[in-house]
Structures are given as C-alpha cells and as structure tokens.
C-alpha cells in the first residue's frame, strides 16, 4: 500500500464545520488515481494533509506503511500554478529539491538535472529563465522539479487547469506517457471529468462536504490509452454520470 488515510478528520480553524470527517481511502503502489469534485469541496485539503502543510485533527496518514510525521520527502507535490522561481534558471529550479535534501555534489546535481530535463522534453533549457518558456514547457519543468524530489508518490493538484485547451490535451498525453514508462504512484486532483477518465485507472468522487467518503469509480479502459477510446459507449455513459453528479452538487451548493 502506497498511501493510506485512516479516519482522518480536519477542520479549518476559521470554520465551524469539518472539511474532512473520518475519511479513509487508500492508493496502491503504481496506481494513477484522480480525485474529482466541484471547486471548494475540500479536495485540495486532502493534499495539504498528505504533504503535511496541515495536520489532521484526528486519524492517521500513512505513506509506504509509515506515518508521514516521521518521514521526509516522501511525496512530490505539484501545485496548480507552476511556481517556478523567476530568479532561478530552469536548471536551478529543478535543482531546488536536491539542494534542500543536501548530500549531493554540484556535478551530481547537474547530472540529475540534465537527465530530468531530457526526460521532460526540455533538453538544453537548463540556462533559460522560466519567463522564456511557454505555459506547457513551464508545467513540464515544474513536473520535472516535482519528480526530482525522488518520491514515489506524486500529488498533482490541477496541474493543467491554467493551460489553453490544446496545450492541456497534449500535456495530458505527455503525462500519461511519463506514467506508463515510470509507473510512479500518482494522485491527481481535477474538476475536468474527461481529463480524469483519460488519465486514471480509478476515480474518487467527492460528492459532499464535509468529505466522509470518496465514491470509487473504476475506469473501464486498458492502458496504453488513446484519446479515441473516450468515445466508447461505456465511457460516454460514465462521463455523463459523473458530470451529472457534479452538476447536482453545484446546484445544491
């Protein structure tokens, strides 16, 4: 088991209701799992608890079978905005998690960064500043930086939502290719139903706040995937069902 939440409860200090209430779910190693829900439903809170930017009021969070409190760099977190540091070159940005972890020589760090840049399709961009890159390239650089944390568990929080449609589509295909090669464990937050279906093996739907449980929906598609598979009858029905349940929540909210 890669990630396990056991009875996690959380309430923001400024609010008088729980955002998460006794929530349990788990993710197997090598899985690609999406969490979908309407905006403001608390899905990002789940991430912030896993990466310890927040601490749960009750319950336990385990990564790799051990409580997160006693671990360091156990997950790579990639927020919605790429957050590349504008005063650092792309190469220096990717080096950031390595610098913070420490223990590597400059040449070792350079080698890892060069390798990762080639991996994310940005070879030769090490000396450029983030301002010189396009939106899709910036997201790939940010993904490379996340991957260099060296963690097996990647938390991606709506990483493509700020991109234009065509870039978003090609980034989804790119991410899927990356995952099919490396099989990291990916937990992916999105509010785009089609994106969730295209990428993930199973979808966890947030259908109420406070979040007491996540409704599990398996995606009936094999890997490797093609975008054309999205028009299969079973998949179309699934998409309509998910959209419907989200739309109902928006109305209620």
């Amino acid at each position: 088991m890669m990630l396990e939440l056991r009875g996690v409860t959380y309430r923001y200090p400024s609010e008088d209701f729980d955002t998460l209430q006794n929530l349990s779910f788990s993710v197997e190693e090598g899985e690609f799992v999406s969490i979908i829900g309407v905006s403001g439903c608390g899905k990002s809170t789940i991430f912030r608890l896993i990466n310890r930017l927040l601490s749960p009021g009750a319950g336990e969070i385990l990564v790799g079978g051990h409580p997160v409190e006693r671990q360091k760099q156990y997950c790579g977190y990639m927020p919605q905005r790429d957050l590349l540091f504008p005063w650092r070159t792309v190469g220096e940005n990717l080096r950031l998690p390595l610098e913070i972890r420490g223990g590597l020589s400059r040449s070792e760090m350079r080698a890892q960064v060069e390798g990762m840049l080639a991996e994310v399709g940005l070879p030769g961009c090490a000396g450029k500043y983030p301002g010189e890159l396009s939106g899709g390239m910036r997201q790939r650089a940010a993904f490379g930086r996340t991957a260099l944390t060296g963690s097996k568990l990647l938390l991606l929080d709506e990483p493509f939502s700020a991109l234009d449609f065509l870039t978003r589509v090609s980034m989804q295909e790119w991410l899927l290719g990356q995952w099919q090669r490396h099989r990291q464990t990916v937990l992916f937050i999105t509010h785009d139903v089609e994106e969730a279906i295209f990428l993930s093996g199973r979808i966890l739907v947030v259908d109420s706040t406070p979040i007491r449980q996540l409704t599990e929906v398996p995606v009936p598609l094999p890997y490797p995937r093609e975008r054309t598979m999205l028009s299969r009858p079973g998949v179309v029905a699934l998409r309509e069902r998910l959209l419907d349940s989200l739309r109902k929540q928006v109305k209620e909210g």
């Binding site: 927020p79 005063w87 913070i100 944390t149």
Partner: protein, 253 residues
C-alpha cells in the same frame, strides 16, 4: 527598441532643464548681484576656481561621512528587517518605534548631536543614519514579506528549514526591494551628510557652502551643492547599473 524609446522619453526633460537654465541665466544677468542670485555660468566658473580645495579636501570629507553613514544604515536596516521578518513579536514592538522615529525633525535636533559627539565625523554620521536607515528597514522588510506563501509551502513540502526558506526564497524576493532602498538611500545619505556639516564641521561640502555664505559668495554657496547633486546622480546611476546586472526578472513575479 526599449533603449530607443527611453532616450526619446528623456528629451522633453532635457529641453525643460535647458530652458530653466537659460531663464535663470537671463534673470541673474538682469539682477546682476552674484551674492543674491549667481548665474549658472558664474557658478561653473567658481566651481572651476575652487576645484582644488573642493575635490581634494571637502568632497572626500563628505563622501567619508556618506559612506560610513550608509554602511551603518545598511547594517542596522537589514538587521532590523531580518529580525522583524523572523520574529512577529519583534515586528510588533519595533515597527511603531521605527515609524515614530521618522516624525522627529532630525535637522532641528542635529545641533544636539554636535554637543554630544563634537565636531568630528560621528555627529554627521548620526544625522545621515537617522535619515537613511528608515527607507532601508521598511522597504527591505516589505520585500521579505512579499515572498509568496505558495512558494514557501512548496519549499516546506521539500523539507526545507526556515534558514533554507530564508536563503532560497526570501532573499531573492527581497533583492529588487533592496535595490529600490539603495537608490533612495544614496541621495538621502548625501543630504544627511551635508546637513550635518552645515550644522558644525571643519571640512566637507556642506561646511564649505556655509562658509561661502558668510563671505556673501553666492556662486561659492552653489558650487559645492552642484557638486553634491552630481555625485548623488552618479552614484544612483551606478546602483541602477548594478541592479540591472543582478536582477533580470523584475516584474515577473
């Protein structure tokens, strides 16, 4: 292209300055009393006649006070900014005092400094520091505070310590603010030094200007002031050049 536009942008200012100088020249020639209003050409002539004492004795004396004052202001200002950023209690107790210190009319109490510290360099340094350290503390502190919370959180998920966050995020964020502070502080420190000398000194451009006043030498009063302005502009331009070499990302945050 940008260079081109900015050159054209300064042309109206140059024309205005030229017109004002011509008007001044005409008015001064009409009044024809150099002890009341010397003409620009008379001032330049006087500057040339007095070049030896001005450049060998008085300019170095003023520059020494400016440099020492600016250095102390920087050390004091940066230290206070760092402390206020790191400790909320320090911010709460220091910030109001620093603001209040600016309501003290420094020029009015400066004669006291002469009483306390004598005619040597330190009474003038104190005036300089009192005038200069304020913009440095406030601007650099604002710079530290403007570091993005999301970026800080990202570093936290990498396992960064407070010192790492300070070095890798806060300092680079505050750097443009630091240069703004320096560009403000340079002319202010020169003004501070001149005021200090005006009140009591044995050398320095402020002192020299005042001595010329007692001799009713109008052009001699202006000559060191012209020199002071020229030096201030030159130093500010140097700071701007350094800034442009160091910071290539301004406006991208």
């Amino acid at each position: 292209m940008k260079q081109h536009i900015s050159n054209r942008g300064s042309l109206p200012a140059l024309i205005l300055v030229a017109l004002l100088l011509i008007g001044w020249q005409a008015a001064a020639m009409k009044v024809n009393a150099a002890y009341i209003i010397p003409s620009p050409t008379q001032i330049l002539t006087r500057l040339w006649e007095l070049r030896v004492p001005l450049f060998t004795v008085h300019l170095p004396a003023t520059m020494l006070v400016t440099a020492v004052g600016l250095l102390i202001s920087l050390l004091l200002g940066l230290t206070l900014a760092v402390v206020m950023d790191a400790f909320p209690l320090a911010r709460k107790s220091l910030y109001p005092i620093i603001i209040a210190s600016q309501t003290i009319p420094t020029t009015a109490i400066a004669p006291l400094f002469v009483l306390w510290f004598g005619y040597g360099i330190w009474s003038k340094v104190l005036v300089t520091v009192l005038i200069t350290f304020f913009p440095i503390v406030i601007t650099v502190y604002d710079g530290f505070q403007s570091a993005k919370t999301e970026m800080e959180e990202l570093l936290c998920t990498y396992g960064a310590t407070r010192i790492q966050i300070f070095c890798k995020l806060k300092i680079p964020t505050a750097l443009p603010y630091f240069f703004s502070a320096i560009k403000m502080a340079i002319p202010m420190s020169i003004i501070g030094a001149a005021i200090g000398e005006w009140l009591g000194a044995q050398s320095g451009l402020g002192y020299f200007s005042r001595r010329m006043m007692t001799q009713l030498d109008g052009a001699g009063v202006f000559a060191p002031i012209v020199l002071l302005s020229a030096v201030a502009m030159l130093l500010a331009a140097v700071a701007a050049l350094v800034e442009r070499a160091v910071i290539r990302w301004r406006g991208e945050l």
